[in-house]
């Protein structure tokens, strides 16, 4: 317990930790100390001079953001001299700030606007000509309007310290100081847009959101990003059923303010013109629209006939659909269709992982653990590309807690910048690389090991044995690719008890029915069975859907409720943001099919199915209030031995700018210079 001091702010006796920053202590006690440049996650600047406060026995006003509290300190934050100073600073700020609030994207959620409203200086004594420079476009998603910039350097720090990219700097000096991008006239970076969201004013604006709406005309829907497996909360701004913005400025969710380019911008596939909006039947002339009732009836009949005839089903589930949908699909396959041939694209060896860790309930790391643990070992994954939030957590841990970072990878990774040891290994040599750090790791207090698909099967067991041998508490993250890869596994979309794997289903020449839900298995593989009746539920006419007898237009994750489980096993709630005419959620499709087939698989409302999951899926008896209020509830699926599964496990090796088949339909991901095949050739880095 840190030493406590007593101080007095505005006549109130306050106790605080010795050395805590005055601005934080004041804010924690409900005393407003305004500031622009102060940001609790990043380095102190003391540049904006808004947080000046009066401290008795100190001749000059002091900045609250860099002054540590001390015993007996007497502080005034609302005295006349402080008010005058704030007003003076705002008056200075407004001299060159354009008063174009009525056309500024930030109008209505602008910190400068708020402060001027609260602290005055609404009327300026400035009668001179303002300094003006033209607006610049730095990338398809980042615009910079220098005159609006108040030079708080939050963007510079978010990019440098938060993202580890450092694409922004300061050019020139004095009143013509300007934030400059790393390429002089444009940005080459993660395109994450963190700079835009952290900007207190309208200096940095989003290429996809600008001039679309006023902030108060939107509904703000906090849901979970549907791309990678990290499970970031993205708060979607929805105007008349259309998503116009993604951000997480309200800092809800595990990711605080963090979002990558996908979470912030790649919701645009929802509105893509190729989005399927009607069920379709394959005819001689190609796919023809049919009604939902006809489609459901045709499928139900075919499924029913096949069940009666004892035919062979193959079901391929999705990495993106909800837990409820996955659970219902598994149940549908097993109980309704009587098949064990159900699988999904597995991207991490969770079966071996859970098996190797059985009986060690405290060995699953949460996303928060990555921020708090003393040491992190990254094995065989370029987190900044595939798991940007986990990478962000590690950087934040390094920045705030000086965490020890180890990277054992086949190429350079961003974690090298924080690492006390970077080990380069050939693919397959990861374990030897890990072994080489044994002595150092043994000396750590505790450790989280994050590993990619290079570690599977025997290698995974050896890694866990290595962790056990260190004699310190070790937790693990087994990386998987997509927003509900973990959930698909946990919900049993798996060829258990002798079922056929995804590859085996595709290779089975006697397959009667192939039912694909939100997946694209025929993108890189052929279907061996010539007679198979293929049903596909998807957003787009994917390579698989093109071969389907019936295609059903599904709703995306941004259009439905339910829950998903992230890479760390944390369950979070999806909230429907947009609506796309003609689509149905996969869960509704399952329900309608079950009804049509006369199956009783239970009510297909997400909340009801989640109730069932909580009761029946091991480790998912999570506290409802946490999930219902948008929190992340950790699951504990370690339930003893897990049998080995057939089939292969491979990450799709998406980059920061791809997202499986989905990225094809995101204009933003394709527009930025960094997308694969553009700026950096085919390397995708």
């Amino acid at each position: 317990m840190a030493e406590l001091v007593k101080l007095n702010i505005n006549g109130r006796e306050i106790q605080a930790e010795k050395g805590a920053l005055l601005i934080e202590v004041a804010r924690q006690n409900g005393i407003e100390v305004p500031a622009f440049c102060y940001h609790e996650d990043y380095t102190l600047q003391a540049a904006c001079r808004m947080c000046l406060v009066e401290i008795e026995k100190t001749p000059k006003l002091q900045v609250g953001c860099t002054t540590p509290v001390a015993e007996g300190m007497v502080v005034h934050t609302e005295s006349d001299v402080v008010k005058k100073a704030r007003k003076g600073t705002l008056e200075f700020l407004l001299t060159n700030h354009p008063l174009d609030c009525p056309v500024c994207d930030k109008g209505g959620e602008c910190e400068l606007q708020d402060m001027v409203f609260r602290y005055g200086a609404g009327e300026s004594r400035f009668v001179e000509r303002k300094h003006h420079v033209d607006e610049k476009q730095w990338s398809p998603v980042v615009f910079f309007d220098a005159p609006r910039c108040i030079l708080c350097y939050r963007c510079v720090r978010a990019c440098n310290e938060g993202m580890g990219v450092g694409a922004l700097g300061i050019g020139n000096r004095g009143v013509i100081s300007e934030i400059v991008p790393n390429q002089g006239d444009h940005l080459e970076c993660d395109e994450c847009g963190a700079c835009i969201d952290i900007c207190p004013v309208g200096a940095l604006t989003s290429g996809s959101y600008r001039y679309q709406t006023r902030p108060w005309e939107m509904d703000h829907v906090g849901t979970i990003c549907t791309h990678c497996a990290d499970g970031c909360k993205t708060t979607l701004g929805v105007r008349v059923d259309k998503i116009v913005r993604g951000n997480n400025r309200d800092r809800s969710g595990i990711n605080n303010e963090f979002l990558c380019v996908k979470g912030r911008y790649a919701f645009d596939f929802v509105e893509h013109p190729e989005r399927l909006q009607s069920p379709m039947l394959k005819t001689a002339k190609g796919h023809e629209p049919i009604s939902w009732s006809k489609a459901i009836s045709l499928i139900a009949n075919k499924f029913g006939e096949t069940v009666l005839a004892g035919g062979k089903f193959g079901v391929v589930g999705s990495n993106h659909t909800t837990n409820e949908e996955n659970f219902f699909l598994a149940k549908f396959a097993r109980e309704g269709l009587g098949t064990k041939n159900i699988d999904h694209h597995r991207t991490g060896d969770l079966a071996t992982f859970f098996d190797a860790l059985s009986g060690k309930p405290d060995s699953l790391a949460s996303s928060g653990d990555l921020y708090n643990v003393k040491a992190v070992l990254v094995v065989g994954s370029d987190l900044a590309q595939q798991h940007p939030f986990l990478s962000f957590q590690i950087r934040a841990n390094f920045r705030h807690h000086n965490a020890h970072v180890y990277a054992v990878t086949s190429g350079p990774v961003r974690e090298d910048n924080q690492a006390i040891a970077s080990v380069r290994v050939q693919k397959g040599g990861e374990l030897a690389g890990v072994e080489s750090q044994r002595d150092k790791l043994k000396a750590e207090v505790n450790l989280v090991i994050v590993f990619g698909d290079a570690i599977q099967g025997d290698a995974l067991r050896k890694l866990v044995a290595f962790g056990d041998s260190l004699g310190i508490p070790v937790k693990y993250v087994c990386l998987v690719d997509y927003s509900n890869s973990r959930g698909a596994f946990d919900m049993g979309v798996l060829p258990r008890d002798g079922g056929l794997s995804r590859e085996q289903v595709l290779a089975a020449a006697d397959l009667d029915v192939l039912w694909v839900v939100g997946a694209n298995p025929l993108k890189n593989a052929a279907l061996a069975s010539k007679k198979a009746f293929v049903v596909v539920q998807d957003l787009f006419l994917s390579e698989t859907a093109q071969q389907a007898d019936i295609v059903l237009p599904a709703a995306s994750a941004y259009e439905k409720s339910g829950t998903v489980t992230n890479v760390c096993g944390e369950v979070q709630k999806l909230k429907a943001a947009a609506k796309v005419m003609g689509t149905k959620t996969d869960l509704e499709i399952f329900g309608l099919l079950a009804k049509e087939m006369g199956l009783n698989l239970g009510i297909w409302l997400p909340d009801k199915v989640f109730e069932e999951i909580r009761k029946t899926v091991h480790g998912y008896n999570v506290p409802l209030p946490i999930v219902a209020t948008g929190g992340a509830a950790p699951t504990m699926p370690l339930n003893g031995r897990v049998a080995a599964l057939p089939g292969s496990i491979a990450s799709a090796n998406d980059t920061l700018f791809t997202s499986g088949s989905l990225s094809k339909y995101s204009n933003v991901l394709n527009a930025v210079m960094e997308s694969p095949g553009k700026l950096y050739g085919g390397e995708g880095k």
């Binding site: 005058k84 100073a85 001179e128 030079l151 009143v175 100081s177």
Partner: protein
Amino acid sequence: MAKQLFNQPSPLETMVLSKRFALEGSETLDVYLKNDGFKAFLKAKEMTPEAIIDEVKASALRGRGGAGFPTGLKWSFVPRTSPKPRVIVVNADESEPGTCKDRLLIEYDPHQMIEGILIAGLAVDAHVGYVYIRGEYRYLIEKMDRAIAEAYSKGYLGNNVAGTGWKFDLYTHSGAGAYECGEETALLDSLEGKRGIPRMKPPFPAVAGAWGLPTLLNNVETFSAIPPIIRDGGAAFAALGTPKNGGTRLVCISGHVNKPGVYELPLGFPMMKAIDEVAGGIPGGRKLKAVVPGGSSCPILTASECDIPMDYDTLAKIGSMLGSGGMVVLDETTDMVRFALRIMRFYQHESCGWCIPCREGTTWLRKILQRFYEGHGRREDISLLGELSKNMLGRTFCALGDAAAMPTISIVEKFTEDFERYLARETVAV
């Protein structure tokens, strides 16, 4: 042919630091050695670090860069037993308008400064030093480099300084033309290769300076004063000046005087005597209007305030500063609106832009003064100039904001009639 000097010395000077200036070849090590050179170092080598610092304290030497912080005290803040190596940095970023003394110390007697640095190195157990020279002093960098090379070649720098077996390395580093980099922490950032903006304090450079190492940072003149102090004793140096204001300092007298130049005068020297006798008085018998006592950042003095001894404490008492020793004499023909504008143009140009009040304030003030000067002033602008300056004063990140605010406040308050004359559409004859 006699040596071409910056200005002819005055018989009223007390030449301690500048005593070799007039010697032919004063910039060479040979001449330096023949004229008391390195006696102080050899003496200091036999002293304990504490004794060296005590001697500096006894000299009552105060920092000659402008702030006037007691030098001995500053040296005592450097943790000489820290596990981190100590660094010595010389602030040769002489940029304060009206100041031109450090250049002479480097140009005419660089080895005196080197010896001072070496003694500081003994005092804080440092073995490396950097001379940060302002970018505009390009020619001085060459001279300094030449002096350093000579000292290395003759064994007064390097692994065996003056045959004592003690090691010290010295390097020059060029600034890039920013006044702000004269602020010690901005200088350190610049020295490290970063954008020159001041750092947050604490930690002070003595604890965490260049590259985070304990750093002793002083002005050129401060280091140059060290050899005479050690050689002749701190008390002797102190006795040249007044109590708490030890020794002599190089005063740069410019503006409306017959003999502008750099003169070494003891602390406490009468200001009027400096103007009238040392610098030869005001041309044409015109009357004194105002004096900038120590560089453009200091509040200006009216003629009636100038009958004072020049020491830190007296100047502080009347609300100004001795600053960097840059004294600008203004006679009765001076248009104070134009003068204020000229000063503000400088600060507006040099504001680093880091903090809001300085960045926006200096620009706004410059624009008002410019408008005023062009004949479009309004009565309310006069009070606005003062109010805006006061909104900057004490609220900026570093002292640059204060440096811009203080002279402006004093000019507006003390020479309001010059501004009023503009309102009546009259200009002062220039």
